[in-house]
Symmetry: C2
Subunit: 309 residues, 2 copies
């Protein structure tokens, strides 16, 4: 079982309107709802690839119940969310049909009490004991200490379970010092962590800060990996047009899927790159265009070299 | 018991953002949720005035359950919503903190099947038999026949229960022909119904089309009433600044409250005008500023004359 942690789960709502004009009234022509939050997106992609996945994090209120109902309907996915008093947040993406652009409104999420945070940590330790890999994904809700991911990384390592961290800002800075097995920053997160806008240098620097392996996601330019086994760059054959939301989450899913299948790093990077591009083509995060994914598996270019043994 | 009918119930969500800019991402700083739909607003105001109120209409899905939970928490209010398969709609009002302006996003609501509409009509007839007055409020959800209100008006009249209609467009045109006791159009609805933008003439014309009494709500200019007992104009002492959403619903609540208390028309109009202005001062529809309401009761001006007996 692969465990994904989403401390700030969400119900992602997508509204289509003809044209968004501030300070007017709009009739929404289409409503789509999906369970969301980065780790939930990762879990949905992993489940679609045939892995057994357990989702943990927090759930609260009516929105939380709705997220749980939708999660348990996904084959291969187990809901192990921990209850909190505050309501799970909604995110609303308003898609303008005329321009194709999206306006995003994100609720802040519940404030987690220290008792709730303690209850989560206990549940997490039990879940980690049964996991083959763990992904820690996304922002922290109000009330969760900024060093939260550092503690969760250490608990996974103590249990001997590989742990991937995908977050930003101070939680990333604290988390990397706890020596996660894989760090998956995007270009902005990497630059903020290291102070360098030069990805090759920055991935090296992130390793020096504690991560065993760093895989930076550089959007349409693919992935840049610095690992103890070698350094590689994985590139999709062409830019895919669509909705980039969730592309980074699919990189995480591809890396964990390859780890669980004991693939060498170049094959993990190929899988992650193909999944990410196929997610851009899908309408929502946590989903991917399967025919495109399978086609891209043969067309991703990986260059680089293994470290001398 | 006063019965209010809201065929298109809603969960009204209000988001505050610092400044709404299309095609960017926003952190919502404050989230407020209220059960909504025009008849629900009317019911909440009536309950706050001390009346026993029953709410009917449709409820579906997780949003419907949330609406029902919140309704049953209101003292004096009974939930008699009829279940449908489709989900109750949400409305999202995005308040821009810089300008104070609101951008509205309204989901379409569930599609009601003919079996669901029949079940509602049966439940309605039972409820009407126990009611002292009925209010039919707001738009029709998809699937409900455009002549729906005409049938509901006729059923109330057959039961000998006074019925007020507050809607627009074709449902209003059909409904007025069924001879409701009170019609409560706003200036736009009245002009659309009668073709006249001259309110005095238009209220008379709406009576000729079938309404026993017509009370037009003219925003800050107050109310214009044409009834078998006489014609009046009710005017608040000064313009109240605030959020006009729900002001019309509070007019309906004031008229029904006065009817239930057997007040003469001028006193009903005073109550409705004061409630409406006090609702503009409240942050959300279905609520009112009680000290302002009580102060305005003594300061509303009613002019006009009773019909010679």
């Amino acid at each position: 079982m692969i465990l994904t942690v989403t401390l700030n789960t969400a119900l992602d709502i997508t509204y289509r309107v003809r044209s968004l004009r501030p300070h007017t009234s709009h009739r929404v022509t289409d409503v789509v709802e999906r369970p969301g939050g980065k780790g939930v997106n990762v879990a949905r992609v992993l489940a679609a690839l045939g892995h057994e996945v357990t989702v943990t994090g927090f759930t609260g209120g009516a929105t939380g119940r709705l997220v749980q109902e939708q999660l348990t309907a996904v084959p291969g996915l187990v809901d192990a969310l921990v209850p909190v008093t505050g309501p799970t947040r909604r995110t609303v993406a308003v898609v303008d049909e005329l321009t194709g652009d999206t306006t995003q409104l994100n609720e802040p999420g519940p404030t987690v009490t220290s008792a709730e945070w303690s209850a989560f940590q206990e549940a997490y330790e039990d879940l980690v004991a049964a996991a083959e890999a763990v992904a820690l994904c996304g922002s922290l809700p109000p009330g969760v200490p900024v060093g939260a991911y550092a503690g969760l990384v250490r608990a996974a390592k103590a249990a001997g379970v590989p742990v991937l961290l995908d977050t930003g800002g101070e939680p990333l800075r604290r988390g990397v010092a706890a020596r996660p097995d894989i760090l998956k920053p995007n270009a902005d997160e990497l630059a903020e962590l290291t102070g360098s806008h030069e990805p090759l240098r920055a991935t090296q620097d992130a390793r020096r800060r504690g991560a065993r392996a760093v895989v930076a996601s550089l959007g349409a330019e693919g992935l840049l990996a610095a690992t103890p086994e070698g350094r590689w760059r994985a590139t999709p054959p062409a830019r895919v047009h669509g909705n980039p939301t969730g592309a980074g989450d699919s990189v995480v899913a591809g890396l964990l899927s390859g780890l669980a299948d004991r693939l060498p790093w170049p094959d993990r990077l190929t899988r992650a790159t193909a999944l990410s591009a196929a997610t851009v083509r899908a309408p929502v995060a946590g989903e991917f265009d399967r025919p495109l994914y399978e086609e891209l598996l043969n067309r991703v270019t990986v260059t680089g070299e293994a470290t001398a043994a």
